[in-house]
């Protein structure tokens, strides 16, 4: 990359009492990207955000922001702003005074404050609400005030802590869209923390998946979804089927012959394996193809029994039990040419997948 990263966390260790929440944690974020830290609760994602904001100090390591070491800088001196999960609007101040707070602290001149607050409120479409108090606003409006209060200071990085989680589903969808548009418009780096994988995939330029204080994988939403690094990332982001396999032979060109549940099949992997390596073959439900036994193709695959089928409107989701006892999920879109396809419970079927759509990782014990 040509441009230096706007934010770097280098070898960060953070302990609470004796418990190590982060150890040797590294992160690098590009200027102007929408970066999401995704993980289950307790994975350390909020700690990372609080370290960047300056609410917590790291026990070890350095935080570089815009080429400056901010590790020892207190929160009020860092050129970052936070949108709190609780919004944290000052209840005793009007919307205007809330948004103006940061500028007043920075001793910006009154006319400029008025101008910039007006502009920020217009950006979040709350121009008519300047004289309201926070308790007179709806959840979505409070959310927007919180965003305006942060961006009006023109921070180098905007931190958003599970900012949409308090909103209902529909409003959340809308705010996701607005956040993304806002980020493009302002060109400010957004760091968004969430446990909602759908939110992470739909908004972000890049996603960091965290688990137990460790970075599991950093990548574009597509990379994270299609090429997960390990079982945790694979199963945290959406549904996935995991098949155990053993590499029998390297066929060259990243192609291998693998022994799977009772059959041998050629698989494709994007990394090197040796004969004898144990691997997981990962397949998303939508990668699987279910065939009626009589239409079974002339290549190895699983046979199975339909345990359950769920009609979701767009897809038909089936649970299939393999002879090994393993239960897998398959999700098929309705086909224009065959609108009536369906299975009956206990029906025997043939399970296949689109060749080359498998993702292979090293086996984890």
């Amino acid at each position: 990359m040509s441009k230096p990263p706007i934010l770097t966390l280098a070898d960060i260790t953070k302990r609470f009492d004796t418990q190590e929440v982060l150890s040797g944690f590294n992160l690098s974020i590009e200027d102007g990207e929408f970066f999401t830290i995704l993980g289950p609760s307790g994975c350390g994602k909020t700690t990372v955000l609080r370290l960047i904001a300056g609410f917590e100090g790291a026990d070890e390591g350095r935080i570089m922001l815009n080429g400056q070491d901010v590790s020892k800088l207190s929160a009020e001196k860092r050129p970052v702003n936070t949108v709190f999960q609780s919004y944290a609007l000052f209840p005793h101040m009007t919307v205007f005074d809330n948004v103006a707070f940061g500028l007043k602290m920075a001793k910006v001149s009154k006319p400029e404050i008025a101008e910039r607050v007006k502009e920020a409120l217009a950006t979040v479409r709350l121009s008519d609400f300047a004289t309201r108090k926070p308790h007179q606003l709806s959840g979505g409006q409070k959310q927007r005030v919180a965003i305006a209060r942060a961006v009006v200071n023109r921070p180098k990085v905007l931190l958003l802590d599970e900012s949409l989680s308090a909103l209902d589903y529909k409003l959340r969808q809308q705010m996701q869209m607005e956040l993304k548009q806002l980020q493009r418009k302002l060109g400010i780096t957004f760091i968004y923390v969430t446990h909602d994988q759908e939110e992470a995939l739909s908004m972000s330029d890049r996603v960091l998946v965290m688990h137990n204080g460790q970075a599991q994988q950093v990548g574009t939403p597509r990379e994270i979804y299609e090429c997960p690094n390990n079982l945790f990332v694979a199963s945290f982001i959406g549904e996935i089927n995991v098949f155990n396999a053993e590499i029998l032979e390297n066929l060259g060109d990243y192609r291998y012959l693998a022994a799977m549940d009772g059959f041998k099949r050629e698989i494709h992997a994007d990394r090197r394996f040796e004969a004898g390596d144990k691997v997981h073959v990962l397949l998303r439900p939508e990668d699987l193809r279910i065939e009626y036994l009589e239409d079974a193709p002339d290549r190895p695959g699983f046979s199975g029994k339909v345990l359950e089928r769920n009609y979701t409107g767009q897809t038909l989701d089936s649970q299939i039990q393999l002879p090994s006892g393993q239960t897998i999920m398959a999700s098929e879109f309705f086909d224009e040419d065959d609108p009536d396809f369906d299975y009956s419970i206990n029906q025997k079927v043939w399970v296949d997948w689109v060749h080359g759509w498998e993702h292979v990782i090293k086996a984890e014990s």
Binding site: V80, T82, F84, F90, M93, K133, P134, H135
Partner: protein, 288 residues
């Protein structure tokens, strides 16, 4: 709402209690205040407003201001001690916090009159404070602490401090820690956070604490008697003396009524201000 017999019984009992022990005594005080003093029968008819007229005599006006000043000093000291104390207690871990609350509540189990005597032992010329100061060589002769205004303010502060601390602790509890962090985040330093966020949001506790310290302080005659000597320092002393020494019951009653009216007015002002603030959706502090 269904009225069960038990419920009705409880309500009647409560009302009867209030009528007998709150309403009736107050009514008697008001009645006495408009009667004529009489050395044999304490108070007799005809009705007169003489007692109320005498309140305006300069002597009593002096006591009134003095009393106000003493109570205000005690209130201010309670606030200065209680505010940081409440802040620290509210920040403590639950176990420590329970312990501190326990320490604060313990004195309530002892009669405040007895505690006032205890202070007398501390502040006396041969009391603990002077003894310690002499022992470590800070002073050669005892400092006169007892029977001074200092002693009275000390006593009032000691007895009333919990009443200041409790409402303050409760308003610090309600203070959302995210708001403080938001202050940090938006570039506010310690004093700016205190002035713009912490103080306005704990103001209800400050006002409530001041009221419940200031108002009783004016009436605590035994503190002034025991620690301040035989001077009329507080309004409560005048009232007590009129009843027990001078035996001018109508005048004592008139003074009581006046004090009650003043306190009532202050409470009313507090609630009116509170209501206004609530309607505005928070405390008024817009001069950022």
């Amino acid at each position: 709402m269904s009225q069960s017999p038990f419920r009705r019984f409880i309500i009647i009992l409560t009302l009867a209690w209030l009528a007998l022990f709150v309403l009736a005594p107050h009514f008697l005080v008001v009645l006495t205040s408009v009667m004529t003093p009489d050395s044999e029968h304490l108070a007799v008819w005809p009705m007169t407003l003489d007692a109320y007229a005498r309140i305006w005599e300069p002597l009593y006006a002096d006591v009134f201001w003095q009393s106000l000043a003493l109570s205000a000093k005690a209130t201010l000291i309670c606030l200065l001690l209680g505010y940081p104390f409440a802040y620290i207690v509210a920040k403590m871990s639950p176990a420590w916090r329970a312990f501190m609350m326990f320490l604060m509540i313990i004195p309530f189990w002892t009669n405040s009159l007895i505690r006032t005597y205890a202070i007398k032992l501390l502040l006396g010329n041969k009391g603990l404070f002077n003894w310690v100061l002499e022992a470590i060589g800070v002073i050669d002769a005892p400092i006169q602490m007892i029977y001074t205004e200092f002693a009275v303010v000390f006593g009032l502060t000691y007895i009333l401090l919990p009443f200041m601390a409790l409402p303050l602790i409760s308003s610090f509890d309600k203070l959302d820690k995210d708001l403080i962090e938001a202050g940090h985040d938006l570039g506010a330093g310690f004093w700016q956070r205190f002035y713009h966020i912490v103080l306005p949001l704990t103001m209800p506790g400050v006002v409530a604490g001041c009221l419940i310290v200031f108002l009783p302080a004016m009436g605590m005659f035994y503190v002034a008697d025991l620690l301040g000597g035989a001077k009329n320092l507080l309004l409560g002393n005048i009232i007590k003396n009129q009843f027990l020494v001078v035996r001018d019951w109508p005048f004592g009653s008139a003074f009581s009524v006046t004090l009650i009216v003043i306190m009532g007015m202050m409470l009313w002002l507090y609630y009116a201000a509170n209501k206004k603030v609530q309607r505005m959706g928070g405390l008024d502090d817009q001069n950022l």
